[in-house]
Symmetry: C2
Subunit: 415 residues, 2 copies
């Protein structure tokens, strides 16, 4: 990346007067930097700008970008800013502001013209030129037949010499459509299955509302970079490395308290075996090994399952083969690591019996890890919860609590 952009973001993040730092950038950089900033910083930057600065910034943006910016400011400022825009930008931005930013309508642009399939090329060219003259933008050409959208006409077709003889039908490329309230993750799925350059957004009555280009989605997807890891570790989506310590505490403390609850469940299970540990303290030494390995193996199974869900390669109803495979893999990996641990404990602590208990516990805990690591995300997805966020809690609780139960319980009955 351009080092200047990185520096600019950090300067704005750490400055008490971000608007002044922002103003020092060139107009082109302002646009780039703004949309690279995390949302919390966009908001504080806009709050720090005076109306004049805000105006200077938005008047150079595309209508969909204007809507993204003004969606973050208070109602009154938004109204003032819209009033001062030219009519074309104002109307479009006002229309787009009605929709949630994470819906298809929030992603779409309005730079298209529609033509009936029976029109000749001269009419199409005329409509394109009028649009361009009015807005300064080159529109996408959508072709309809009656009320139905047939697809997109590549602009290059306008250059065909025998203009009158051209049947638009022969040159239309079909494009997929989505309803305006489709969420952006679903829009991404449509693009993945139909690697076309654009998607049309339709209203409830199937009329065309706008168009989404692959590049509009790239911005969204890039903003989601690392989001799964965020969900996995319980960090709120909005948090950025550029945030201050108080936001960080606010974004995370709840998750830590939930985890504290699950840690107490594990502690409770250990407490159940306090007498056994008192008699054989070495068990406390090996506790972190059994629990840690179960947790690691469980999150591996979970990672693979969550990705399979994201790519829609699996669901709860088709998941039995995957669960079986994970259990077999867990048993095999448990055997590999269990033998290692057993040998080390036997040699190092001169207790083959402890080695045996450790080895068996390892196999059983990694089977548990494979089972819950696969099943829990599948169940969560089925009941409409985010599998990446909530699954870890349940999986590590299962591997900790059941892992300690197996290890300490086996030890109690054998040693």
């Amino acid at each position: 990346m351009d080092a200047a952009l990185e520096t600019a973001q950090q300067t704005i993040a750490s400055s008490p007067t971000p608007a002044a730092e922002f103003d020092a950038l060139s107009p082109g950089q302002r646009r780039q930097v703004f949309f690279l900033l995390p949302e919390s910083l966009r908001e504080s930057l806009l709050a720090d700008m005076d109306d004049e600065q805000l105006q200077r910034f938005v008047r150079r943006l595309d209508p969909d970008e204007v809507a993204d910016v003004l969606g973050l400011v208070a109602d009154e400022r938004r109204a003032t800013a819209l009033e001062r825009l030219d009519a074309n930008r104002r109307e479009k931005a006002e229309f787009l502001l009605d929709f949630g930013p994470e819906s298809a309508a929030g992603l779409m642009r309005l730079n298209y013209v529609t033509v009936g399939v029976d029109r000749d090329l001269a009419t199409v060219a005329d409509r394109v030129q009028k649009y361009e003259a009015k807005t300064g933008e080159v529109p996408t050409i959508l072709v309809t037949e009656g009320d139905e959208l047939l697809g997109q006409l590549p602009g290059q077709v306008l250059g065909m010499s025998d203009g009158d003889a051209v049947d638009l039908r022969d040159h239309v490329t079909s494009i997929p459509t989505v309803a305006y309230d489709t969420d952006d993750a679903e829009v991404a799925t449509v693009f993945r299955e139909n690697p076309e350059s654009s998607i049309a957004v339709l209203d409830d009555d199937k009329s065309i509302m706008g168009i989404i280009y692959a590049e509009d989605l790239l911005r969204v997807i890039n903003e989601q970079a690392g989001e799964t890891l965020y969900e996995f570790t319980g960090v709120r989506e909005e948090e950025s490395i550029l945030d201050g310590p108080f936001s960080k505490v606010r974004y995370r403390y709840k998750w830590l308290i939930i985890n504290l609850g699950t840690a107490f469940l594990a502690a409770g299970m250990v407490g159940f075996f306090e007498d056994t540990i008192a008699a054989f303290t070495l068990l406390a030494v090996y506790m972190p090994v059994v629990a840690g390995m179960g947790g690691n193996a469980g999150t591996q199974s979970m990672a693979v399952t969550v990705r399979g869900l994201a790519l829609e390669q699996i669901s709860l109803s088709t998941g039995s083969r995957a669960i079986r495979n994970e259990i077999i893999a867990g048993a095999a990996n448990g055997f590999i690591t269990g033998v290692l641990v057993a040998v080390i404990a036997s040699v190092f602590n001169k207790s083959p019996l402890l080695g045996l208990v450790l080895g068996v516990s390892m196999v059983l805990n990694l089977v548990i890890a494979g089972f819950f690591g696969t099943l829990i995300p599948l169940v969560l997805e089925r009941v409409g919860k985010d599998p990446a966020t909530s699954a870890t809690i349940f999986i590590t609780t299962a591997t900790d609590v059941l892992g300690f139960f197996i290890f300490l319980g086996l030890a109690q009955s054998v040693l």
Copy 2:
């Protein structure tokens, strides 16, 4: 997603004769399903096809897709398959096969024409039509001046009525360029900073080699869905939920063995305090709480740092403010959870001193978590390692080993 596509993928994954299942699909579905499959399954599917089937499949694909498919088969089969293609597809696919699939050249398409900026619209239209007649594809129009690429000409411009008077210079939109060996992650960054619809790929001598559209990158980015979580949990990139148990073991056992090593470090630290635990078994009960919370807080800091690195908002040299913020946040979150733990231990175990030890350990371990959780990914990135993969090992080792040291050490000196 289309349920039929999900089912088709799973049928192919679990069938002993995937090629027969694949052949049962319609030609359009074959193309969709193939590119949705994980790479390991693409390879086994292609290996199961006979030459005839392979031919039927590739002859309907675009040249860049042909290259993606034939890049996965043995040299001899590839040569046979190429020979049987039409000349246009063969030449292009052969050219594209020379480049790594994860480079700019591996992503690019070849459907463009170049025109000098001094040409008139009629010449441009003529070139477009000749290209279309020859290949059946509508080309992108790139405009050059001498050896320099000026940008892209929207096809719609060809519809302007006063063709001869049009100066191409007035209608060119500039597009970013990348070198042919740029890796795909870097190409994604260029798109993020320049939300245009395409990027030109240049050779060493700055001549145009091809063009990348945002939608080409969407496919790559979608394939990377959940990859960070993979790296984080030590699962190999190739693994899919559709794989069998033996691949799963092969993909994961090494990471589990590495983790076993770090678990033994933690166990060693506990072993150091065996006498203290023997005297006061309750410490073993609270060990999972201290270690677990440190691990959770550390991975939270790490997730935020890794995302900041991916979005290029931070680097080691600019990281001191972020590290300070994470330490402050760690202390605050440690205080919140530490007070909770201290109260519970004081009330439940009637030992305010144990509560105090736990509370202080919690604050210190979450400060350690914030410090290492931020510093380690920054250092790994600087020395050229993947921060998401390797960081966890170091961070949980730090929070486990130092967490046990603080907790058991404090307990030894106080209780």
